[in-house]
Amino acid sequence: MRETIVNLFQHWDLILSFALRDIKARYKQSALGVAWALLQPLSMMIVFTLVFSLFAKVPSDGIPYPVFAYSALIFWTFFSNAISGGTGAMVSNAPLIRKIYFPRETLLIAVLLAGLLDLGVASLVFVGLLFYYKISLSLAALWVIPLLLLQTVLTFGVISLTSAIHVNFRDIGHGLPLVVQLWMFATPVAYPISVIPSWLRPFYLLNPMAPIIDGYRRALILGAAPDLPSLGMSFAITVIVAGVAVSVFKRAERTFADVI
């Protein structure tokens, strides 16, 4: 874990280069370019508003549903895109891994960095929505910073594990999109936590993403602090997952070039 943090600083330039490569390559020869970063959560928001709010009448804790959904969707999109990009990061860079040495986790951090840029672009629409619905940010909005940090570390842990497994077993590339989709429905993205029956809630909150996504919404729209007990739990799970995942990754990394 310590080695990873040291590498993060020592190889910052390499991480930046990989992230720039990923961003530039993604939007070259595409007419809409970086607008794609915005279209994905935006279209999901429109569909969710129709299906969950208009048709199914899912409550949204008194918040206009489009803002309610979008505030979670931009962060969820960051999470799910980072997982799909991060899981395949080793295999899609196989020629490089087979030939040149560099700390492999730089590829994962670059995926996260590129994802953060997309998140930044997507949040421009969020600002527009806040204006439209006349919602003003309060000081509690600063909670977004630690929440995003926690989410990033959690994502890093998940992709450390999945990318290392992906090198050996391509199966995970097929199974993971399904898992991520199910995971979204186990997270308060389209509905509020308040609809979860109270007997189920302790189990529900074991999902480390649940308090994080709920936290964003509280901080940005309700102007309130996150639910600290459940966030503390999420923090503990994140630390364990990331710790285990990174040590697995560092062990597996040694033979990536042989099996990839």
Partner: protein, 410 residues
């Protein structure tokens, strides 16, 4: 600071063989684990030791030549030194930044421009972006791609990509440099540039490991040579002694190994086939070891089932890498097959033999000059070893010896 640049002790590398193109699936692996858990015998995977117990050390500023047949473990050794993979057992230390001219341009992304790729590749090779910025103009000038620097490199010719890759790698300013046959890259003027760069690095007391199948290149640049054979160190020492022993071994090996018979004609119509190919000296004694400027006699024995209107016999020479160094062919107007024959001999005399010291292989073939279709082709039909008193003279570089004379006016 210590004077040792590289030190390996007992380095071994084991690979597990995987069958087919398929990566192990989860199902196989679960099956293996379950079997092991239940205490059933698990069929051991096939193993292959690419390196076994390799130990040596190099002092700063030394140039080491690395030789050995294909598959001997040279690439594995380079992979371990460059930390792409880890040794299964044993350990090694390298002092100083390690650069590699092995996989130049491996980090290029086709959609990015030359400029963007220089930064990308530079940082992959361990430079900071600021360092790349500082050397940017030098790199671009070295690669001669000024005009195309803001063009995506997928539109570059392969030569331009290669030059750009080499330019970035050569400017990483390493203390230890790994080179794999780099001198065979690019056109003549670019090769000269590469050689100058190599000389410059040698002058700067860089430690260099040079892999080459061109033994002349090796003895020219390296004082010390390491010969790897089947993953173990066969010999390590002064370059001439090691190269001589290597040639000796290769020639002995050659006579033992069968040639590879390969016919390109699948239609079944083979009006002419090669029965035998033999090499001898002037006095017709079978021989595959010659000195430079000796006479070599090669007899091609063939049979023909019918008269063939046009036929070309050919012998081509290859280095140990398989690179075609050229060859000789018959003139279809003078060498003809006008009647069926069971056993005929065509004799080729090479005199004088103008190859420099080294080991070569010869392909022998018969083809139809009109369609370029092979009637018969024998790859590596003969092995030719050039060694001896004249071959040892250092008056010519590369593979081919040019009969020459120097005169200096007073």
């Amino acid at each position: 600071m210590s004077d040792t640049a590289i030190e390996l002790s007992g380095v071994s590398k084991r690979y597990r063989l995987r069958r087919g193109w398929q990566v192990t699936s989860l199902k196989d692996e679960v099956g293996r684990l379950t079997a092991r858990f239940l205490g059933r015998a698990v069929q051991p995977r096939e193993e292959f030791w690419a390196l076994r117990d390799v130990s040596f050390s190099l002092t700063r500023g030394e140039v080491l030549g690395l030789i050995g047949m294909n598959g001997a473990g040279k690439s594995t050794l380079l992979k371990i030194l460059s930390r792409v993979t880890v040794p299964t057992t044993g350990s090694f230390v390298t002092n100083g930044r390690l650069g590699s001219l092995i996989e130049i341009g491996a980090g290029f992304h086709p959609d990015l421009t030359g400029r963007e790729n220089i930064f990308l590749n530079g940082s992959i090779m361990g430079m900071t972006r600021r360092e790349v910025q500082r050397k940017f103009d030098q790199i671009v000038a070295f690669a001669e791609v000024e005009r195309f620097i803001d063009t995506p490199i997928k539109y570059y010719s392969s030569g331009m990509q290669m030059r750009l890759g080499f330019a970035v790698a050569a400017h990483t300013d390493p203390e230890i440099l790994l080179i794999d046959e780099i001198l065979a890259v690019g056109d003549a003027s670019f090769q000269a540039k590469c050689l100058n760069k190599l000389a410059e690095l040698k002058d700067q007391d860089k430690t260099i490991i040079l892999v080459s199948h061109n033994l002349t290149n090796i003895t020219e640049h390296a004082k010390t040579v390491l010969w790897i054979d089947h993953g173990t160190i066969r010999m390590f020492g002064e370059s001439d002694a090691v190269v001589d022993a290597y040639l000796e071994h290769v020639s002995a090996d050659m006579s033992a190994e069968d040639s590879h018979h390969e016919a390109r004609d699948s239609s079944g119509d083979r009006p002419i086939s090669l029965l035998d190919v033999a090499m001898a000296d002037e006095s017709e004694q079978p021989q595959n070891r010659f000195d430079r400027e000796d006479t070599v006699v090669i007899d091609l024995t063939y049979s023909a089932s019918r008269p063939i209107p046009g036929v070309v016999f050919g012998v081509s020479v290859h280095d140990l890498h398989g690179y075609d160094l050229g060859g000789v062919v018959t003139d279809p107007d003078s060498i003809k097959v006008t009647a069926p024959v069971d056993h005929a001999v065509l004799r080729l005399t090479l005199s004088p033999l103008l190859f420099n010291k080294g080991a070569y292989t010869l392909d022998v073939y018969v083809l139809d000059p009109a369609t370029r279709r092979f009637y018969d082709l024998r790859r590596r039909a003969l092995r030719l070893l050039v060694d001896g008193h004249r071959a040892a003279l250092r008056e010519s570089t590369g593979y081919v010896f040019y009969p020459h004379r120097w005169e200096q006016s007073k």
